[in-house]
């Protein structure tokens, strides 16, 4: 068995627990999206966009009566971090162009963080493996959310809007170990809090990346 295959399968095992959490979050997306987008659109969106932050962000704009341009801008800004994550991942990608494209496309926050070796390099096959159960969970959960949404009533009364931030707390808890990472996390949170009232949604998250630049100057 090739080293890539071993890493891919190890990634899948790592991703199963993420997939279960993402499944629950996707149900909440389906429930929230159906009254705004109809039945088919949320499912198609989960299949071809596959991004919680962008999907929840653009949905919030559409649900508030915002126009298409604003919804797209919110989604793009919330996903702008993928550009920075892609720059980080790039030197670790190996193989044919098609392989590298598929590996880069499999980037999601949890898998990318789990595949980080901590020295700035990544294991891309491990990342792709950890993404796979989340893709399955995300699409299946959205379908179920759309199907049961009508019978459920107000999703907030089930606390479904707390699922998504709680998932990111869990990812952060595993990631932010050590002085510099903790400093980066605190700085990122402070920047995002300070800028949220001032800038359009998404931009504060992107600018929070500056905390990583500052924290990298600290002694470890």
């Amino acid at each position: 068995m090739s080293a890539e295959r071993v890493q891919f399968e190890a990634g899948i095992r790592r991703g199963l627990v993420f997939g279960a959490a993402v499944f629950a979050i996707a149900i909440s997306f389906g429930v929230l999206a159906r009254p705004v987008m109809g039945s088919l659109a949320p499912i198609v969106m989960s299949i071809i966009v596959f991004s919680g932050a962008a999907q929840f962000g653009s949905l919030a704009v559409l649900a508030a009566g915002g126009n298409t341009g604003a919804a797209i801008a919110a989604g793009v800004l919330l996903n702008a971090r993928y550009f920075a994550m892609g720059l980080g991942l790039a030197p670790s990608l190996r193989g044919r162009v098609a392989t590298r494209i598929v590996l880069a496309m499999s980037t999601v926050d949890s898998a990318w963080a789990a595949a980080s070796r901590g020295d700035g390099t990544f294991d891309p096959w491990y990342m792709a493996g950890a993404s796979l159960p989340q893709y399955v969970g995300w699409v299946l959960g959205t379908i179920i959310g759309v199907l049961i949404g009508g019978a459920l009533g107000d999703p907030k009364s089930y606390g479904l809007d707390a699922l998504f931030p709680a998932f990111f707390v869990a990812l952060l808890y595993e990631e932010a170990r050590g002085r510099r990472k903790l400093a980066a996390a605190c700085g990122g949170a402070a920047i995002a809090l300070a800028l949220t009232p001032l800038l359009p949604p998404g931009l504060p998250i992107l600018i929070a990346a500056a905390a990583a630049v500052v924290a990298s100057g600290l002694r470890s």
């Binding site: 790039a90 707390a162 990346a209």
Partner: protein, 102 residues
């Protein structure tokens, strides 16, 4: 309804472009050591930013509601070495209960 489909198609294309831009620009060249150090810290900064925005954000304003209680519960579960699933689903239960009693 057309707007919804335009939004979906645009976000699918934009997300793919954002994921592929870095690898296309760098083409396998290594990043300088100082940049690698920054990349290693990026996940912490971005995840923390996502947490506070998704917990306290309400469009372009900040608010303190039942989500914060749910997220605090998740943090406590994780600090006590509980499982991710318990933390995440528990957060929803706590937020639901908080909304039911207020």
């Amino acid at each position: 309804m057309t707007g919804v489909w335009v939004t979906i198609a645009s976000l699918a294309l934009a997300t793919a472009a954002l994921k592929l831009a870095g690898p296309l620009i760098l083409r396998g060249r290594p990043l300088p050591p100082r940049t690698m150090g920054i990349v290693g810290l990026l996940a912490s900064a971005l995840l923390a930013a996502l947490v506070v925005v998704e917990t306290f954000g309400k469009g372009r304003s900040l608010t303190l509601d039942a989500r914060a209680l749910g997220v605090a519960f998740a943090a406590i579960v994780l600090a006590r070495r509980g499982s991710l699933i318990v933390a995440v689903l528990g957060a929803a239960v706590v937020a639901a209960v908080a909304r039911a009693v207020t």
